[in-house]
């Protein structure tokens, strides 16, 4: 027989005989690849679309000049337009305007309006020009015209010629939809209008968001940038396109990387399952392979045969996984959006882009993992002496090489070491490596552990317990390696699930507590704000504070500040803060500096944890921030008086006393107010009072309990994909239990036949199997819990602070964990039982004879 046909014959024979295991192995690898690939696709699509949309907005400029806060005075524009070396200066006013008819969706109710001078923009961002109808060319300059992208028209349900109502500060204005845009990205929700009209209609007279520069030919960009930066001083940031890209990448990097890591976890679990399936299959067939060797099959041929089997499985599984992943990604983007419902990338509509390289990478990962999974046992099978391997009962020994304690100990030690390392590129790379090492080490340590525990159990109970218990314990104690492989799947999936559950619960409980702390008032009122101006002037503040039924009113002035051109803006919140004990106002992380310790004459600020991580602010340190009167030097010195926890803004936030802010800036406007009701006043009455003010229609009034509920709802939605991944991990784990038990029980057909011969009842064999399965699973659950707890520590105390720059307290969801543990225990025992029924149902005589 030729070796090719022999090889095919061996392969098909094996697969026909164990079709279920083959299917499970293929499914495992397919699911792992599908998850990894789909999340990669979704993330890439969302990110690409997000940066393309941002680039579309910022056009083809060489440099951009930004202020420290969102807006700056327009007097910079003529200065830059005349600046030596500047070919073109394009002034831009960008506003996020609240749409009154979209208020019910608090998180997604803004329209980005770009105010442009079409004559300047035509050379820098030609795509953003409005397209007026025939004969109405001057609509591009009209003070009542707005141009909408197709997505914006669809969102707002308007067409060219319709009238659109928008909130501008405390008033509602109407604009005429004059047409579409030259080219907006599909799904990109933006509007364009004349810059002069935008300044006027949205009460931003004299303000710009940025100025885009095109330099003359031959001007050295770097030298020009340095010169201009020096010339403009600290007040302005001169930004290159690359800075812009960094900033966009920074904005979503943590989110994307963490999702990718979750996908890798799924891939890892799948890979482990493939590994165990392959390993068990090779071990089960040791005698068959030994026989082939005896019949003249060379080692090399044998090795090739085994690896070929694995490679075929890997190929089929990976291909299926790619297809499945693509389908999942397409569906997820269709129904959940590119941010999987977490509203991370608002106003865009990504579409999946098939990148052959990425697909090939995922295919190779799937293939590689499967091949590696078959390699280890294949080498062992090849190296085994045929004469020994032909004998029955040598299977367990075959696996002993896989479980050297040194390897496991090394992994665990390395994991411990990695937990101490700082983030790489602001990402918790070592944290994730530590998790992987913990898993590998834990699983590798399993056989020793199982042997130790079951031996001691045997020693304790062995003597007085019945024959069945003795049999079960003896089996588990003396064939720990096979037990361990069955256990590995449970261990991996359960520990990951425990870890995720603990992390999410810790996060949720912390967020819940934090929300209670940061939303102490009864009502929160804000203007339907435009841009960054405080919408309430003094007269309006007075009118609101003077309403009846209000016991206390706190005013907030929030503003965005740009400290680093490569990072998203930070939030400045100026509000009354309890100066005796800031903890009464702010959710402090540590003990704040007491006012007596604070240096004299320096204004205190309280910074969020992200400020510490990203900008290196330390309590007690003096820092300078661009908060001040625009006319004189904008920077002022502040002292960091404490660090507070902020789950709302991962890019950083700073709080200061409102009085300090007003003293430094002279800006008395505010954006928000918090209202505490007096006794006897009802929420509804207070809201009605506010609504009756002349500007009542422009107020956004929220009850604090609604805000809390909404925030938690958003939280849950963001983690929906996490729950999905957890469930998949559990299913994969259970598949693993089923696969390994059915493989084992089949391999142990001889043993069961022998037991039946010496008088053990069929029912007893089944009970024995269920007990084995149950005991193994119980141990897997206990160990999985320990391992999962350790992983959750890494997630809670390393991964989260390093990626999102916030800390949280550990909370364990006992009830949920217990429930999952019981479900797993029962289903594992059932799986073992079902798998066992097949083994004991066969002909007893034949089962015993097989070996002799």
């Amino acid at each position: 027989m030729k070796s090719v046909s022999l090889s095919r014959w061996l392969l098909l024979g094996e697969w026909r005989a164990h079709i279920l295991q083959v299917i499970v192995a293929i499914m495992a690898i397919a699911i792992g690849i599908a998850l990894g690939y789909s999340i990669h696709l979704i993330n890439t699509a969302a990110f690409n679309e997000f940066s393309a949309a941002s680039k579309n907005l910022s056009g083809q400029s060489d440099l951009q000049v930004h202020g420290r806060s969102a807006f700056f005075d327009e007097s910079l524009y003529p200065m830059l337009a005349k600046y030596e070396g500047v070919a073109l200066a394009n002034p831009v006013l960008e506003l996020d305007v609240v749409m009154p008819n979209k208020l019910q969706n608090r998180n997604d109710h803004k329209l980005k309006i770009v105010g442009l001078d079409m004559f300047r923009a035509t050379q820098i961002s030609p795509d953003l020009l409005g397209v007026p109808v025939e004969g109405k060319r001057l609509d591009g300059l009209a003070d009542d015209a707005i141009f909408l992208s197709p997505a914006a028209m669809e969102w707002l349900q308007v067409e060219q010629g319709d009238v659109l109502s928008l909130n501008a500060g405390l008033q509602t204005i109407t604009l005429r939809v004059a047409g579409g845009l030259v080219r907006a990205r599909s799904g990109q929700r933006i509007a364009v209008m004349d810059i002069g009209a935008a300044q006027w209609r949205f009460q931003q007279l004299g303000l710009l968001s940025r100025i885009e520069l095109k330099l003359k030919h031959g001007v050295n960009h770097a030298a020009f940038k340095a010169e201009l930066t020096k010339q403009l001083g600290d007040q302005y940031l001169v930004v290159e396109v690359t800075d812009q890209e960094t900033r966009i990448a920074n904005m979503s990097r943590a989110y994307r990387v963490n999702l990718n890591m979750l996908a890798l976890v799924a891939l890892f679990t799948g890979a482990f399952l493939v590994f165990s399936t392959q390993a068990l299959s090779v071990i089960r067939r040791r005698q068959q392979f030994a026989m082939l060797r005896v019949l003249g099959f060379t080692r090399r041929q044998l090795l090739r045969q085994i690896v070929l089997e694995g490679a075929l499985l890997g190929m089929i599984g990976s291909l299926l996984g790619l297809g499945l992943g693509y389908a999942i990604a397409a569906m997820a983007i269709q129904f959940l959006g590119g941010d999987l419902g977490s509203n991370f990338f608002p106003g865009i509509k990504p579409s999946i882009d098939f990148n052959p390289l990425a697909a090939l990478t995922f295919f190779l990962i799937g293939l590689g993992v499967t091949v590696l999974g078959s390699m280890a046992p294949a080498f062992e099978a090849v190296r085994a002496k045929p004469a020994l391997a032909l004998r029955s009962g040598s299977e367990d020994a075959a696996l002993s090489k896989l479980s050297t304690p040194w390897f496991a100990m090394f992994c665990l030690m390395l994991a411990m070491l990695f937990t101490q390392l700082p983030p790489v590129f602001e990402l918790p790379i070592f944290g994730y490596l530590a998790i992987a090492l913990l898993l590998i080490g834990g699983i590798a340590l399993m056989p020793r552990f199982a042997a130790r525990i079951f031996t001691s159990l045997q020693n304790v109970w062995g003597a007085q317990a019945g024959a069945m218990v003795t049999l079960v314990l003896a089996r588990l104690a003396n064939a720990p390696n096979q037990a361990a492989i069955a256990l590995g799947g449970i261990l991996a999936s359960f520990s990951l699930m425990v870890a995720m559950a603990i992390m999410v619960t810790s996060f949720r409980v912390s967020v819940d507590g934090w929300l209670t702390h940061v939303l102490p008032a009864d009502l929160y009122v804000r203007t339907v704000s435009v841009g960054d101006q405080g919408g309430f002037q003094l007269s309006e503040q007075k009118a609101m504070a003077g309403l009846s039924g209000f016991e206390r009113v706190d005013f907030f002035r929030t503003q965005q500040l740009r400290l680093d051109p490569g990072r998203p803006e930070i939030m400045l919140i100026a509000r009354p803060i309890d100066s005796i004990d800031p903890r009464n106002t702010l959710p402090m992380v540590d003990d704040a500096m007491t006012p007596t310790v604070l240096p004299e004459g320096v204004t205190p600020i309280w910074v969020s944890e992200a400020m510490v991580d990203l900008y290196g602010y330390r309590p007690g340190e003096k820092v300078s921030l661009p908060i001040g009167k625009a006319a004189d030097t904008v920077f002022n010195e502040f002292v960091v008086a404490g660090v507070w926890r902020d789950y709302g803004r991962q890019f950083g936030a700073v709080q200061m006393q409102l009085a300090d802010y007003q003293r430094l800036t002279g800006d008395t406007s505010v954006n928000n107010l918090a209202v505490w009701l007096g006794s006897g006043a009802t929420l509804d009455a207070a809201m009605a009072n506010l609504r009756q003010l002349p500007f009542g229609d422009a107020l956004e009034i929220s009850k604090s309990r609604d805000m809390r509920a909404l925030s938690l709802e958003i939280f849950d939605r963001s983690f929906a994909v996490t729950y999905l991944l957890e469930i998949v991990a559990v299913v994969i784990g259970l598949l693993g239990v089923g696969a390994s038990f059915s493989a084992q029980t089949l391999a142990r057909a001889k043993e069961f036949g022998m037991l039946r011969h010496i008088g053990v009842m069929r029912r007893q064999v089944l009970v024995m199997l269920a007990a084995e399965g149950g005991l193994l699973t119980a141990m897997g659950i206990v160990l999985g819990f320990v391992l999962g707890w350790a992983i959750s520590l890494i997630l809670v105390f390393i991964v989260n602070p390093q990626s999102f720059h916030w800390t949280m307290q550990l909370h364990l969801p006992w009830g949920w964990l217990t429930m999952v543990a019981v479900i797993m225990l029962v289903s594992a025992a059932m799986t073992a039982l079902i798998a066992g029924r097949r083994a004991v149902s066969g002909n007893v005589i034949r089962a015993v004879r097989e070996d002799w």
């Binding site: 003529p78 001078d117 002069g196 300044q199 003359k216």
Partner: protein
């Protein structure tokens, strides 16, 4: 005669006239809706130097200069400079400094036979921030770094440089201002408000520098300037116009046009001929007659243009002969107009008389599909 030089020049001129055409059409359509802009009325005496400056109450205004230059090695160059001021009639109440109340549009072109092609550049900006303006009182127009200024002594200074070419010229008047029409009131149609205020300054003596491939070259030559402002230029029933402007060899200047109605026939016509002594003879609409003597069908648009034209102004017979038939300009990709504009030679009563430009607009037929 160098063809490439002429070509470039005419391309650009047609561009300018096209913009005038577009704006004029627009002006006619919207006059009824607005009362903020002033109509052009007869009997209004132009006063100088005030009328050298901008007239913000009128919709459109332009300063238009063309001329022939010579380098020191006697190589000819053509140049053309135009500044438009256009009132958007929008943003009246908008206090923003960006409010687009007026636009400034500028064109510069240099026809250089040595380069074998026309070099041209154009810009548009809203008036504001002292970056772009057209000031009243005297000619003082600026668009970013491009400027056209009339000095107290009447001399014009033009500075229009781009990255690869440009010009810095001084243009000194040698003759009096020529008021077109009735003392500068130039009618364009039957309705009295369809008119412009219009004066010319012919025979400007030019000295200065031209930049070619960023290298300066000293030049001298002669040029002419038109300054025209109006609110309603063209009759809504007008189909297009035929226009000729010519420098005559004996020092006279001829300008003639007819505005054609949509139903055929002429809506209006005008001609002025100034003799070397400065005597101007004006011709009434009935005295001006355009008669096609040969047509040419464009292979590009299938439009039929009367490229050779016989013009009668009173007793004088002019024959216009094109240098080339295909001088059609198709700008439908950008601004949407297609028309013919080209170099012509003139004979006066069958005697060679000079050179000029013929412009034929409104002849486009829909493409046969």
């Amino acid at each position: 005669m160098n063809m490439s030089k002429r070509w470039g020049q005419y391309d650009l001129l047609s561009l300018i006239r096209m913009i005038i055409l577009l704006f004029s059409l627009f002006a006619a359509n919207t006059l009824a809706e607005t009362s903020r802009l002033m109509p052009v009325v007869p009997g209004h005496a132009l006063t100088f130097p005030h009328d050298y400056g901008a007239h913000q109450d009128f919709r459109i205004e332009w300063w238009y200069m063309t001329g022939w230059l010579e380098t020191e090695d006697k190589k000819p160059l053509g140049f053309q400079v135009t500044f438009f001021r256009y009132a958007t009639d929008q943003n009246h109440d908008n206090p923003s400094r960006f409010a687009a109340k007026y636009l400034i549009i500028a064109h510069v072109a240099l026809s250089d036979p040595a380069a074998g092609k026309l070099m041209h550049a154009e810009k548009t900006a809203r008036e504001g921030f002292e970056l772009a303006y057209a000031k009243p009182g005297n000619t003082d127009v600026k668009l970013d770094e491009w400027t056209l200024v009339r000095e107290e002594n009447g001399r014009y200074l033009v500075d229009m440089r781009t990255e690869d070419f440009g010009l810095q010229l001084a243009l000194t008047p040698t003759q009096k201002v020529l008021l077109q029409g009735e003392n500068g009131f130039s009618r364009k149609g039957l309705e009295p408000e369809q008119a412009s205020y219009y004066y010319s300054e012919p025979h400007l003596r030019v000295t200065g520098t031209v930049l070619r491939q960023s290298k300066p070259v000293a030049v001298s030559g002669s040029a002419w300037l038109d300054h025209e402002w109006s609110t309603a230029y063209l009759d809504p029933n007008a189909d297009g116009w035929d226009w000729v402007g010519a420098n005559l060899d004996d020092g006279s200047a001829l300008m003639a046009f007819q505005i054609r109605g949509k139903k055929g026939g002429k809506v209006w016509a005008y001609a002025a001929l100034r003799d070397p002594s400065g005597q101007v003879k004006f011709f009434s609409p009935e005295q001006v007659e355009f008669t096609p003597t040969r047509t040419w069908q464009s292979p590009h648009t299938e439009a039929v243009y009367p490229v050779a034209m016989h013009i009668r102004t009173g007793e004088i017979e002019w024959q216009l002969t094109p240098l080339l038939d295909d001088q059609e300009l198709d700008s439908r990709q950008s601004a949407g107009a297609v028309y013919w504009e080209g170099a012509v030679t003139l004979t006066r009563d069958r005697q060679p008389a000079g050179r000029g430009y013929l412009e034929l607009t409104g002849y486009v037929k829909p493409l046969a599909l």
